[in-house]
Subunit: 168 residues, 2 copies
């Protein structure tokens, strides 16, 4: 979900720049996790934001995800798998966000988990190399996000248009 | 989770008997779903209870589940998979309940989903035949609950002691 369908990075930047004297930019995040891009004394802010109720409720939708995922549902059985279990308060926010923005996918096909190695599927689209490494399916697509730009280990998709070109 | 680790049936009976003139017993549930065991005019009560915030928060622990699951974690990688997605308000209740009663299993190994066919594992212990039918793993154990007592399709376990005898 995050950094593939929903955009927590834009919200981090907004909140951080509202609260901290030093401005954070998307460029500063190139090749880094958010907590690596801010001064050490501010890294606790990242955890404070992400653990707050409502953080995941109003994230912007990643461009193209709605249209392409809707098209994928006509040819594939699509499950939305999010490793949201790390953040207790994200669970209901993620449920409600999916209901709002992806109403064509039923709750039957939502999965909120911790470790994605339990998922049995054929294709995984994910921004996290750790999830693709433990995936036993036949095809692994790394969805580009700021933190993974330097990885060369997986077949990469830079946008939902590229996902469509490969899978539709 | 439900009817395997946590006991929603006992809570249904308590709430129903508190609110409705007709008393519900465990015997009346033999071979039935709860909504089948109450008069038609009361079946909406079942959905009202289960959808309420907090319903899943204080369920009793099924006897033996803590001890046997703890022992299983020494020989197996144990995931707790609950089809709780049908009930939005259950998500945080289930998370908190697991933290309280199964602290030896980390959130990394929690899965809240809708359709369990997405789960890739070797062994599944479940009270629902529909989950075992779509499971691709090598061993399927039907955990006895009131609603499934007449099924003969799967290898059955009547208690956590029987799970221990088979898997430990």
């Amino acid at each position: 979900m995050d950094e593939v369908m929903a955009d927590p990075i834009a919200k981090f930047i907004d909140l951080y720049n509202r609260d901290c004297a030093l401005a954070l930019t998307l460029e500063a995040l190139h090749g880094k996790e958010v907590h690596e891009a801010v001064p050490p004394e501010h890294s606790s802010k990242v955890w404070e934001y992400i653990n707050a109720e409502g953080f995941f409720r109003d994230l912007q939708v990643i461009p193209g995800s709605q249209e392409v995922i809707k098209a994928l549902t006509h040819s594939y059985e699509v499950f939305i798998v999010s490793a949201g279990m790390e953040f207790r308060n994200s669970l209901i926010d993620k449920f409600d966000w999916l209901q709002d923005h992806f109403p064509f996918i039923g709750w039957q096909n939502y999965v909120l988990c911790g470790d994605k190695s339990i998922i049995g599927a054929d294709i995984m689209i994910d921004d996290r190399a750790k999830n693709l490494r433990t995936f036993s399916g036949e095809r692994k697509l790394l969805f580009t996000s700021t933190h993974n730009v330097h990885l060369t280990e997986f077949e990469r998709v830079n946008s939902w248009q590229e996902v469509a070109a490969k899978l539709l």
